[in-house]
């Protein structure tokens, strides 16, 4: 911690500020800090970008790897860090400017959100398994508590359910970590990766399975994602946007980071993940067809997109991986947009059921338009960013001559259209005369507008950022480079 600008700030700053929260309450700085912290981290990430693009940044804490603890900021994790902090800024700004419910503007929410950001940053950056577990728990615990913040029955129920299922996931993951430690005697990711191939086959299998279930629950893959809709429905949409926008993305990144790092030949695991991703995508999109609750519908749509990203990343080819990372970013943007718009609509129309939304788009034209924009982007319609990333993924599959994922992705997109357009139609239903409440909190549209602008910009000119994703994909896929960087050339 000698250098002023190092990756460690991504974890340290939010933690420090969160624990010093009593101070900020006094100074009435809660809200400015909630926005300012991720904003500062985002600025830091941008400042580090040139350095990261030349070589991964390694931050050793106390002792050098393989024994010590270290943080690793390479092109891939940079993307995630930037994304997480950007989402933090947006949600923070929304809570501040949007005059949201008071319980989200208090000290507890402040602490929990910053902890969530710190945990996600940590998971993405950390270079050893034990810290990975620790950050996973930090992020998890703050997420459970965020769900339960509202203190009414649905919220508490959601929080409790989340706690239970999250703990189970953590246990599976912990088992895997223990087994790895027993087998290799190491916890540093790079060292484990080097020794992983020497673990006997069945044990590899067992570890893999434990990991898969533990992280599968966290990343919301198909047979393990039945908890998701309940939690998303019970939480405030702004909180749900954090889950869908950053928490899941961090876990997904961890999952694939581990897969590509540990396995010299990720073919089999990749195929498993592709299969799971495809099933997740199709099942979630199908189930979403019948959802009558906006938040629940968005939750299923989120699952579907996660499935798509898993499918793309599992293929392990540079262009699908780059597309997958890009889609991760896009999906975060879109879900921020949709959930925050949903928050605005929910405040005006009380109920989240489809029947009560009839004509909402005509009563709240701006919110309606933003919802439509988000829906178009999530379905991957041009000229919005979802299209660019989907095209990239499809192109990757086509280049490789593998067409079944193309067919499935397009089929899923069609089913997805089936329910999103149903909502859009209801939003513009002409018949009802909706009671228009005085629209307070115009500023709430500012962060959403920024996100919408980004979605359009990335859709029209994705070439501005495509290098970042290609480099990210390379560093995610290139196992030896990581090993060399961490352990030295001799390893």
């Amino acid at each position: 911690m000698t250098m002023p600008l190092t990756p460690v700030w991504f974890i340290a700053l939010p933690l420090l500020l969160a624990f010093a929260s009593p101070l900020w309450v006094r100074l009435r700085l809660l809200m400015p800090l909630l926005v300012g912290t991720p904003a500062a981290l985002l600025a830091l990430a941008l400042g580090l970008l040139p350095a990261v693009r030349t070589a991964p940044l390694l931050e050793t804490i106390v002792i050098a790897p393989p024994l010590g603890i270290h943080l690793q900021l390479d092109s891939a994790s940079w993307l995630l860090v930037a994304l997480i902090n950007f989402a933090g800024v947006v949600v923070g700004a929304f809570l501040w400017l949007g005059e949201t419910e008071p319980y989200l503007r208090e000290r507890r929410a402040f602490i929990l959100i910053l902890l969530l950001i710190a945990g996600c940053n940590g998971m993405v950056l950390t270079g050893d398994l034990f810290n990975l577990y620790v950050f996973l728990e930090i992020a998890g615990v703050s997420a459970y508590a965020l769900s339960a913040l509202r203190r009414d029955a649905p919220a508490l129920e959601a929080g409790l359910k989340y706690l239970i299922i999250g703990s189970v996931a953590a246990i599976f993951f912990l088992f895997a970590v223990v087994l790895i430690y027993l087998q290799t005697g190491n916890l540093s990711l790079a060292a484990v990766a080097r020794g992983f191939s020497e673990i006997p086959g069945p044990m590899q299998m067992l570890i893999g399975l434990l990991m898969l279930i533990g992280l599968g629950i966290k990343t919301e893959l198909f047979p393990f994602n039945f908890w998701v809709p309940d939690i998303y429905q019970g939480s405030h949409p702004a909180v749900a946007s954090l889950y869908s926008g950053i928490l899941v993305k961090a876990f997904l990144f961890v999952l694939f980071h581990l897969v590509f790092l540990f396995l010299a030949d990720p073919g089999v695991a990749g195929a498993w993940l592709m299969g799971l991703g495809a099933i997740t995508m199709l099942v979630a999109e199908t189930v979403a067809l019948r959802q009558e609750d906006l938040r629940r519908m968005l939750a299923y749509s989120s699952l579907g997109q996660i499935g798509l990203i898993t499918l793309a990343l599992g293929f392990g080819v540079e262009s699908t991986t780059a597309g997958g990372l890009f889609h991760m970013v896009n999906h975060t943007l879109v879900k921020l947009l949709l959930f925050l718009t949903a928050a605005i609509l929910l405040r005006s129309f009380v109920s989240a059921r489809i029947a009560d939304f009839a004509g909402a788009g005509r009563a709240r034209p701006l919110a309606g338009a933003l919802f439509v924009l988000g829906a178009l982007a999530v379905m991957g319609l041009p000229p919005l960013s979802g299209f660019a990333s989907k095209l990239w993924i499809l192109k990757g599959f086509a280049e490789a001559g593998v067409f079944w994922p193309v067919a499935l992705i397009l089929l899923a997109a069609l089913i997805e259209a089936g329910y999103y357009f149903r909502w859009i139609k209801v939003l513009y239903e002409p018949r009802t005369e909706v009671a228009i409440e005085p629209s307070e909190g115009r500023w709430a549209y500012l962060p959403i507008g920024v996100v919408a602008g980004l979605i359009v910009l990335l859709g029209v000119a994705p070439f501005l950022v495509d290098d970042l994703f290609i480099e990210g994909a390379r560093s995610l896929l290139d196992r030896t480079a990581t090993l060399v960087a961490v352990l030295g050339a001799g390893s």
Partner: protein, 591 residues
């Protein structure tokens, strides 16, 4: 402010015209790693851009009437931008982007109508997205084959490759043009869309499917012949396509006859007309493609004219069903002429250009020796007379059947100006059938490396099978008409206007106001007694799609059962999966 915005919007609607006049170049725009957009204007695209340039301002004009619906105007601008991108596309990515922008912006425009139902909007967007995604799948296959997104002929494709491409692209475009059995979204959406926008849907947007079909032919080195060889004197694969088109035309014509709503009738008639175009594309010879393009041109003009006239009627009377209208000829004379010219063009009667287009297609069928198709096409184009007559009789002739129809005034000028322009265009093209051939169609045919059709002058339409002279035809007819009318009026005797509309020879009775005298929607009902027609009218593909929807919902319900909120189940499932996989592993691999 509002005026400036409106002027700006009108300027936007003229952008296709400007593009058509001013574009000479090539524009590229990098999208992603290895994906670039390249924009260029081919002669084929220029032809369809011309159709767009005709339709865009004429539809924009009535849209500007007060009170303007600003979201509609913005969406219309997006729609135009998308369609221009689609037409300028030199590569499939820009083609697809344009296609999709067109799809969603037209969908959102459809929602602006207060009459749109959920089933309509859902079928519109799902069919169109299915079309778009099939297109995208085809593009991916194309990319897999060539390694590039550029639109250019394949080099030495094998038959399975051609078949895959033809199926994916073909289905995509057939959905867009709305051939049987993929047409189910068309009548609903044309009917329930905002009245003016229906004109654009039918006139311009459906033509993009035609553009796609012709573009598809250019991808294959031997067009459709390369697929399954030749049948008689045309491509065997095209024979199938041609039958699809003709059957579409026949069924849609009978459905049109049985409609009781003006816009729905026009919608079915659009399906039928596009069916003819599909047939012509299937024949694929130079004559047939010329005919297809000609039909597309005429259909654009005619459907613009008819939909705008009908929109005027609906605006002024508030009625859209045949039973509720009548006797508007005296109240809306210009609209009457609009519809009259429109149906003459629609029915393909000489001397309007509809005949020239049909003539080319008929001759191309004779040339291909596909006489059964010729007979089937005659069936639908003769049956079309009935709905054409219904379309002019029920609103304009007979007896006024509602207060709205009795008190209507002529439509406002933003509706009339486009009608007058379109009538003039149709009339001009009818007198000079060779003009469209020589100036508009021949460049396309030449670019497609086919024999041009142009004749010695703009007045004549010539083919190897003979032709006709539009100027002579028109002058003979007009002279005869003037002569006959003049002579008639010179004869001794006087004309007396009937004392009342009920002064009729009504089977020996004296009809009163209560007597149902308007034949309206009843027209064509007795056609059901003809076995074939009755069979067609009794059947519909709607049940299939409803069943599909039901099945999807059932599947959604079944799968949704997993997501019941019960943490024990979730954990149990996780553990069970864990155990089962381990168990399987133990059995197969052995731990």
């Amino acid at each position: 402010m509002s005026l400036i915005l409106k002027l700006f919007f009108f300027a936007v609607s003229l952008s296709p015209t400007a593009l058509l006049m001013g574009w000479d170049g090539h524009l590229t725009w990098t999208l992603l790693d290895g994906v670039g957009l390249s924009l260029t204007l081919t002669p084929l695209a220029a032809f369809f851009l011309l159709l767009l340039a005709l339709a865009a301002p004429l539809v924009a004009l009535p849209m500007l009437r007060r009170p303007a619906d600003w979201p509609s105007l913005a969406l219309y601008a997006a729609l135009l931008a998308g369609m221009q991108l689609l037409l300028l596309a030199g590569d499939f990515v820009s083609f697809f982007i344009g296609w999709e922008i067109m799809t969603w912006s037209s969908y959102l425009l459809l929602l602006r109508s207060p009459r749109t139902e959920m089933a309509t909007s859902q079928s519109y967007i799902l069919f169109n997205l299915a079309s778009a995604f099939l297109l995208l799948a085809g593009i991916m296959v194309f990319y897999g084959l060539t390694g590039s997104f550029d639109i250019r002929p394949l080099v030495g494709p094998t038959q399975p490759q051609q078949l895959a491409l033809a199926l994916l692209f073909g289905l995509a475009f057939l959905i867009k043009v709305g051939t049987l059995p993929l047409h189910i979204w068309v009548p609903r959406s044309y009917d329930e869309a905002p009245d003016i926008f229906s004109a654009f849907l039918s006139a311009a947007i459906s033509k993009m499917g035609v553009y796609g079909m012709i573009l598809l032919l250019t991808l294959f080195p031997e067009a459709l012949t390369g697929l399954y060889g030749r049948l008689l004197n045309g491509p065997a694969a095209g024979y199938l396509l041609a039958w699809v088109g003709v059957i579409t035309a026949i069924v849609a014509t009978y459905k049109a006859i049985s409609q009781e709503d003006m816009k729905r009738l026009l919608a079915y008639s659009s399906i039928a007309q596009v069916g003819y175009i599909t047939t012509a594309v299937g024949v694929g010879s130079s004559l047939a493609l010329g005919g297809a393009l000609y039909l597309a041109l005429v259909h654009t003009l005619v459907k613009l004219l008819l939909f705008i006239s009908v929109a005027g009627i609906v605006l002024q009377t508030g009625q859209r069903r045949f039973n509720d209208l009548g006797r508007l000829i005296e109240r809306m004379p210009i609209s009457f002429f609009g519809v009259l010219i429109g149906i003459i063009g629609l029915a393909g009667m000489p001397p309007l250009p509809g005949f020239a287009a049909k003539y080319l297609v008929f001759v191309s069928l004779v040339d291909a020796r596909w006489l059964l198709l010729l007979a089937a096409m005659i069936l639908s184009s003769t049956a079309a007379f009935i709905y054409c007559y219904k379309l002019i009789y029920a609103p304009f002739l007979g007896h006024a059947n509602s207060a709205g129809a009795r008190e209507a005034k002529e439509a406002p000028w933003p509706y009339l100006v486009p009608q007058v322009i379109l009538m003039a265009l149709l009339f001009g093209l009818g007198v000079f059938p060779g003009f469209a051939i020589e100036v508009l169609i021949d460049p396309v045919l030449t670019a497609l490396r086919m024999a041009p059709l142009g004749g010695s002058s703009w007045a004549v339409l010539t083919t190897a099978y003979g032709g006709y002279d539009g100027v002579v035809l028109m002058s003979v007819f007009v002279t005869a008409f003037v002569l006959v009318t003049g002579l008639f009026l010179l004869l001794r005797g006087r004309m007396r206007r009937a004392g009342s509309p009920y002064d009729l020879s009504y089977a020996g009775e004296v009809p009163t106001e209560e007597t149902p005298l308007h034949y309206g929607a009843g027209m064509g009902r007795e056609l059901r007694r003809i076995p074939l027609v009755g069979w067609i009218l009794r059947h519909s593909s709607q049940g299939f799609y409803l069943g599909l929807t039901r099945q999807m919902r059932a599947a959604a319900g079944l799968l949704g059962g997993f997501y019941a909120g019960n943490p024990q189940t979730w954990i149990l499932l996780a553990v069970v999966v864990f155990a089962v996989v381990l168990g399987l592993q133990a059995v197969t691999g052995g731990i």
